[in-house]
């Protein structure tokens, strides 16, 4: 693995940091997940074998939350990628006032999630929020955005999309600016349409950036906590509870640390599978991609 001793020494600080930040906590969680440590054991860990894992397997709430977390992440990340790409393409055009537009489009992302979630809780308020006021003016009955299980999860996706699309747009804009202009000029000379340029030049050369944005966003969306906690508290009818929220409830409210660790590890295993799938996709596309993007 290491070609020389020097390389090993140079890697050591990074390896130590990674061990401290990732390996140790995960090892501790694994240890916790085979113990019972709750308020009833007076917070002393008692070996429990596989009991927590069996409990997880049989816990319908865990599987419901897993499905809801996936649904949230799937819908919000897809929307964010499409919208983010569109905004990046727009901001990459030679527009007047481009820099101020870029700045404005970043604002939602700069807001702390809890603050923006409180904002959306007000916007979605039934019947006093602005949306329902607007509906009232055009004669439509108020919609209980946050009190209807079949609507509320869409409201959480919406709020998340509003906040994090700028992040995707920013990443993709950086990618767009790395694509050499001469490629487009050459394509134009050959008579390619704008649509063809998009699909034959922009998207393939942007793939690494798209994948980075996708991995970042997926990891964040699958760990969604603060948005849901503030906007809905996991309700109504548990329809917006995420795995992170469930793990938090178990640890901080129920003082059931063994099970909380098991829930977190279960979610982590799922995330690992998803991300390795994406990494496989990356490997597949980058090995197929022969163009390296010309001059930097």
């Amino acid at each position: 693995m290491f070609r020389s001793r020097q390389q090993l020494w140079l890697m050591l600080p990074a390896l130590a940091a990674l061990t401290l930040i990732f390996v140790l906590p995960i090892a501790h969680y694994l240890w916790l997940s085979v113990h019972t440590q709750t308020v009833l054991t007076e917070l002393k860990p008692i070996p429990a074998g596989a009991a927590q894992w069996i409990r997880l397997w049989n816990d319908s709430r865990f599987w419901q939350d897993a499905w809801q977390t996936l649904r949230f992440a799937g819908f919000s990340v897809t929307t964010e990628m499409v919208l983010g790409l569109a905004i990046a393409l727009l901001l990459n055009q030679p527009l007047r006032g481009k820099s101020s537009l870029r700045l404005i489009s970043l604002l939602p992302w700069a807001l702390p999630t809890t603050v923006m979630a409180l904002g959306w809780r007000w916007i979605f308020n039934d019947p006093y929020g602005p949306i329902n006021q607007a509906l009232h003016w055009i004669g439509v009955a108020p919609v209980a955005f946050l009190a209807n299980p079949s609507i509320t999860w869409i409201a959480t996706v919406w709020a998340d999309t509003w906040k994090t699309t700028p992040f995707v747009a920013l990443l993709l804009l950086a990618g767009l600016q790395n694509i050499p202009r001469d490629l487009y000029e050459a394509a134009q000379l050959e008579g390619a349409s704008a649509w063809q340029s998009l699909w034959r030049i922009t998207i393939p050369l942007l793939t690494p950036y798209l994948l980075i944005a996708l991995v970042f966003r997926l990891a964040q969306a699958l760990g969604v906590f603060d948005l849901v906690q503030v906007l809905t508290g996991g309700g109504p009818a548990g329809s917006t509870e995420s795995l992170a929220l469930y793990a938090y409830l178990n640890a901080m409210r129920f003082l059931d640390f063994g099970y909380s660790a098991t829930v977190m590890l279960g979610a982590f295993a799922g995330l690992l599978v998803l991300c390795s799938g994406l990494a496989g996709l990356w490997w597949f596309t980058s090995s197929r991609l022969s163009i390296k993007g010309g001059e930097p």
Binding site: P127, A144, L146, P236, A237
Partner: protein
Amino acid sequence: MGRRGWLVGLSCLLGSLLISLVLWAQPRKEPVSILMPAPFADATVELVETFNREHPNIDLTVTRGPLETEAVSDLAISSLLLGNSPYDVLLMDVTWTPKYAKAGWLEPLDGWLGDDALSDLAPGAELGNAFDGHLWRFPLVADMGLLFWRTDLMDAPPRTPAELEAISASLQQQGRVRWGYVWQGRQYEGLSCTYLEVLRGFGGRWLRDGSPALDSPEAIAASQWLRSLVNRGVTPPSVANMAEPEALQAFESGDAAFMRNWPYAWAELNKPGSVLAGKVGIATMVSLPGEPHVATQGSWGLAVLSGSNHKQAAVEALQFLTSTAAQKELNLNWGYTPTRLSVFEDPELISANPVLPELQAALAAAVLRPVTPIYAQLSDLLYREVNTVIAGEIAAAPAMETLQRNSVQLERSTGGVQ
């Protein structure tokens, strides 16, 4: 190093020696730190100043915690889990007591305060401070669920669920209010408080003989009634995400005839400029004939942390802040409901705050949520399932059967709720 360097080094050394000497020579003050939710921290600023003036050997400081109840708990628990908590005293919600006591985080107060410590407490305020035969918390501010009603729209508050619905329907038909009754139906602790009052008013119990009894006909009827309020248009469907602020908003804008809320809402509604100033009455929750009108108790109390190194000073601060004089000041200046009988009966306070006797009566009707270290789990099961009923996702009977099954399973897996 040159001569100059030596000189600079020497003077730095001498200077720091001098400073440490001065600091060391100062009388040592015993630091006591209290974590409180932000509103209480603001209200006790003057009391803390007075305490520090009267106790030159103690340095009492209050940390202004978050606004929301559970956020304060998160902060406290995080610090306690790390060990060596920076706080000596904690202002605690009533439902935390068994959990914190069982976790070993609290100092029993029995030995510190003496046997007659609770003798001056108003009926209802003495509840929820003890667990497992020890006193863990002394109540600072009483809090109980109230039914707010509009004195300009009716002569007397409804006493039964049917009356509440009838008055609501007639006022709604006349177009005088948009809704009849707003309350806390969001999936959170507030719904457990709301539900407990209705449950008791329908003759049901959360626990019967120490075991969950949530599939009883009374318990089913209670959750069914809450849902029927939405079905009949007495309560807006948005109640399924309504916490205290949302309910207060609907009520204070004059859109509802009734509201379930805590005493703080009284002060809000009677603020100068409020459209409802002088038009609001308080009562206890409606109940079926023959069943009690109850109020969920939600008091805040001070507890000393077992890890504190300044317990004697901490207890002195606790006694000062919960004293008759302090409670009087908190009521006069901030509208907080006292816990001591002598404060409730103070003629000066009654003339300044005419609602006090009614609050005292409501406090006397107070009931506790289950007193168990696993209360948070029990309540989480309850508000999640009742919220499902309120949102119209499932009928009351199967929901309460699921709730009962889950509660019993929790009880078994943890070896009993008591």
